[in-house]
């Protein structure tokens, strides 16, 4: 009797596990993405700890380009137009790097995975904070990589790449970061 019950329970849970694994990602038309809201928050907060030594006056806008298939959607509005150390954050989108003009922060979307290395190469020598959320992004030469670890967001920093780009990152930022290089 007990054995039967046990078998039934085991079956139910294996079934649930199967459901969990094979559940169609049907809710694709989800109204909201807390993950990308939080990631937007990270971009905004991280920018406050970065010093662009580009000789521009602090009254000028801080320009963020999102290239590739934008995963933020309306979440980016949570930070768009907000001020970062006195500079207004302006957001632009582009399909590829070619269209990007003046830029302080560049978010490279996961959709650009294959072109990532090319982008990073052509950005060398420019004072741009590159941010991505693709595994390996920081090791490839990107400066900040937003990672989902467990149920929360962490960020990797490639300090060498930041140095090459002429960006000064505050120690407070590095304290919380996972340093890659």
């Amino acid at each position: 009797m007990i054995v039967t019950i046990k078998r039934i329970i085991t079956t139910i849970f294996l079934f649930l596990a199967a459901v969990q694994a094979l559940w169609p990602a049907s809710a694709a038309c989800a109204p909201e993405s807390p993950e990308y809201l939080i990631k937007a928050g990270f971009i905004y907060k991280i920018a406050r700890f970065v010093e662009w030594r580009d000789g521009q006056s602090p009254s000028q806008d801080l320009i963020l380009w999102i290239i590739g298939e934008d995963p933020f959607g309306d979440n980016i509005r949570a930070i768009e137009g907000q001020t970062v150390n006195g500079r207004r954050l302006v957001v632009h989108r582009a399909a590829g790097l070619e269209a990007v003009k003046k830029c302080h922060i560049l978010f490279i979307c996961p959709s650009e995975m294959e072109r990532m290395e090319g982008y990073l190469r052509s950005l060398q020598g420019s004072t741009v904070l590159t941010i991505g959320d693709t595994p390996g992004f920081a090791r490839m030469g990107g400066i900040i990589n937003l990672l989902k670890v467990g149920g929360s967001i962490r960020f990797e920093v490639n300090v060498e790449a930041a140095g090459r780009a002429g960006l000064a990152l505050s120690s407070e930022l590095l304290k919380l970061a996972i340093i890659v290089k």
Binding site: T10, I38, P110
Partner: protein, 671 residues
């Protein structure tokens, strides 16, 4: 299965468990190719621009409704102890750290025994609390209370301790009657590199811990840790050293693995061994003599949690764990295996409606080696707990009025079917002001002790009772949280709890017969009410002050006139006298020049008439030095106010001891 009478449920459970884990791993593979879906909406549940990086990293408040939620949006009395709070308090153990929670009752019985409760009913056997470590329940199935000397981890690895006062039964189930303590350790991604910490002093004779964390691949992080401590015994009422010293060693690991964009897996495990000494009175030939007795404890646990995020609006969590506890003392040798499976699904039905539902199964296999004094019938037993819950959170108004309705449905082998519903209303009239109220029902289902125990001494016999039913609670709560300015926070909660069928030991033999037989029955009922206040003030960026106050009034009586017997536990005023009516705390955390930190805490605890303990003031102070980000030294003074003071009586033959003044030093280095 062949007709094998010696059916061993634990083995079946374990093999099923292994199958399940293998299944988990393989079933994750096809999901890896799936990409995250783009989102698009205007309403933001959180204002990310006002949060700092640490807060963003911590977005994952999971306790109240088993889904991520910011504390200000929770319709319950939630209090969070952060890692920094623990570090700066100088707390050397989890119970020590819990004193920070406004309204909690923490009392040292001996150096290694605590009575910890919330909203009354404090006792060494406090049984109305649910204590979890990373989602693993740690209350003992034997008596539904917690062996605090067995609950520990590397304190540096704790991310936060979420404490909910009041019932959380609609989601968490049985035992979450008066409160929930959820100890959450850091993600392995946050504990990279090495850590060595060591120290020692008067009560904390010596301790040390090591931890190492590293990466395994692009998205996997792990850590391993080990710790050991040796603590001295406390003193008697005259300040003479007693023999309740203890020591414990513990090691464990945690792995966090982002399997794909939508899957993440956590696996963790611990093993520990320790010995806690007790002073006991034994009478030989009419002479009462003090002797010491060793309690041997050991155990281990293994937990796997797999989260799948189908989309931002739909997430499932599947968690399985196994936990073993062994404890051997003079009259009681016990071994408990727990195997637990939990599934939950969070789903955002519409923009204004979120649903969480879940299923759970727990198997407990308990083995008690009966002695002449303490015996359980049956000595070995396997219990099954089945549960399901559903909770619906509906936004009623644009202006932030939210209604949460939910219930847990549970079947256990003692009291059969239980329903525990809740209704909660949260109103945020202004982003800095939140009001909430709730009505909930919760039960504390019977433990083995109330059903199966026989404690036999020459003059007194205590027996369990198969008809013992669940203790029941209907709780009414209301709270207000405010951030009047950027530097001040305020949290006020009021509660009124109505209990029925509370446990009492009633006379089961004719009066005057020796031995007197007392039996567990649901003989008591009553009410408790009180307020809990907490305020925080960041005076400057370098100085933080917090204050807490709690008041509780208890009124517990017999349901019907009890047998004419002097039963102290059933006499009015006894239960009341176990809980301090007034408690006050005041803490200061100050950053000084030269990387010095100075932290002080003052606690006032009212007298406990049933424990013959007068009110006391506890003063702690810590002088810390953090010359570098990775080096941290501290000198901690505890219980400075008095040479020694009593907090709680001993019980079950154990002699209670008094807490002495103490000091210890500690140094930790990260690399």
């Amino acid at each position: 299965m062949p007709c094998n009478k010696t059916f061993r449920p634990f083995r079946t459970g374990l093999s099923g468990f292994i199958v399940l884990i293998l299944f988990l791993f393989f079933s994750c593979l096809p999901g890896m190719a799936l990409a995250e879906s783009p989102g698009s909406a205007a309403a933001f549940p959180l204002d990310v621009t006002r949060m700092n990086l640490q807060e963003l990293m911590a977005v994952k408040i999971t306790s109240v409704s088993k889904k991520p939620q910011a504390m200000s949006e929770t319709a319950a009395a939630v209090f969070v102890i952060t890692q920094e709070d623990i570090r700066r308090s100088g707390a050397a153990s989890i119970p020590d750290a819990l004193r920070m929670v406004p309204g909690i009752q923490v009392a040292h019985i001996t150096a290694n025994q605590w009575a910890i409760s919330m909203r009354g009913f404090n006792n060494v056997y406090s049984n109305k609390l649910l204590v979890l470590m990373d989602g693993r329940s740690v209350y003992s199935p034997l008596f539904a209370g917690v062996y605090w000397d067995a609950q520990d981890t590397l304190l540096e690895d704790i991310e936060r301790i979420e404490v909910i006062r009041g019932p959380g039964a609609s989601v968490w189930g049985a035992n979450a009657v008066n409160g929930i303590i959820n100890i959450i350790t850091k993600n392995a991604g946050d504990t990279q590199g090495g850590l060595v910490s060591a120290g020692g002093g008067t009560v904390e004779k010596g301790f040390g811990g090591v931890r190492y964390g590293a990466r395994a691949g692009d998205t996997a992080f792990y850590r391993v840790y080990a710790k050991y401590f040796q603590r001295d015994g406390f003193v008697d009422e005259n300040g003479n050293k007693m023999d309740d010293d203890w020591d414990a060693a513990r090691a464990g690991f945690r792995l966090d693995w982002g399997l794909s964009g939508i899957d993440s897996l956590t696996a963790q495990g611990d093993a520990y061994t320790g010995s806690s000494w007790q002073n006991i009175f034994s009478s030989r030939g009419g002479v009462r003599a003090l002797s010491k007795e060793e309690i041997d404890l050991s155990g281990g646990d293994f937990l796997v949690c797999w989260t799948r995020e189908f989309s931002p609006a739909s997430r499932t969590v599947l968690q399985a764990y196994y936990d073993n506890t062994e404890r051997s003392e003079n009259n009681l040798v016990q071994n408990h295996d727990i195997f637990d499976l939990d599934f939950q699904h969070y789903y955002r039905l519409t923009e204004r409606q979120e649903i969480v539902w879940g299923l759970g199964y727990r198997m407990t296999h308990g083995l008690v080696k009966n002695s002449e004094v303490v015996s359980y019938d049956p000595g070995s037993r396997t219990d099954h707990l089945y549960s399901a819950f559903i909770q619906d959170e509906i936004e009623l108004w644009k202006s932030g009025l939210r209604l949460t309705l939910g219930s847990k449905f549970e079947h256990n082998d003692y009291s059969q079917f239980e329903i525990q519903p809740t209704a909660r209303l949260l109103w945020t009239p202004h982003e800095h002001h939140t009001l909430w109220t709730s009505v909930s029902r919760a039960v504390r289902s019977p433990s083995r002790t109330e059903h199966d125990l026989t404690l036999a001494t020459p003059r007194l016999v205590i027996t369990g009772n198969r008809n013992f039913e669940s203790e029941e609670l209907t709780a009414y709560e209301a709270g207000y949280r405010a951030l009047p300015t950027d530097h001040v926070s305020l949290d006020v909660t009021a509660f009124f709890n109505k209990y029925d069928k509370l446990a009492a030991l009633e006379l089961g033999s004719p009066a005057g017969v020796v031995p007197m037989i007392l039996e567990y029955r649901n003989g008591m009922e009553g009410e408790t009410s009180g307020v809990e206040v907490f305020a925080g003030w960041n005076v400057t960026s370098r100085w933080e002050l917090t204050a807490g106050y709690s008041y509780i009034q208890m009124n517990i009586n017999a349901r019907a006139p009890m047998e004419a017997v002097k039963n102290p536990a059933a006499s009015s005023g006894f239960l009341e006298g176990n809980t301090p009516v007034n408690q006050f705390q005041f803490r200061s955390s100050l950053d000084l020049p030269f990387h010095l930190e100075f932290d002080t805490a003052v606690f006032y605890v009212d007298d406990l008439s049933s424990q013959e303990a007068s009110d006391y003031v506890r003063v702690d102070a810590r002088l810390g030095w953090k010359p570098m980000e990775n080096l941290d030294a501290g000198l901690v003074f505890q219980n400075l106010a008095e040479g020694h003071h009593k907090e709680f009586n001993g019980s079950s033959g154990t002699v209670g001891t008094e807490v002495p003044r103490s000091v210890y030093g500690k140094i930790s280095w990260r690399f």
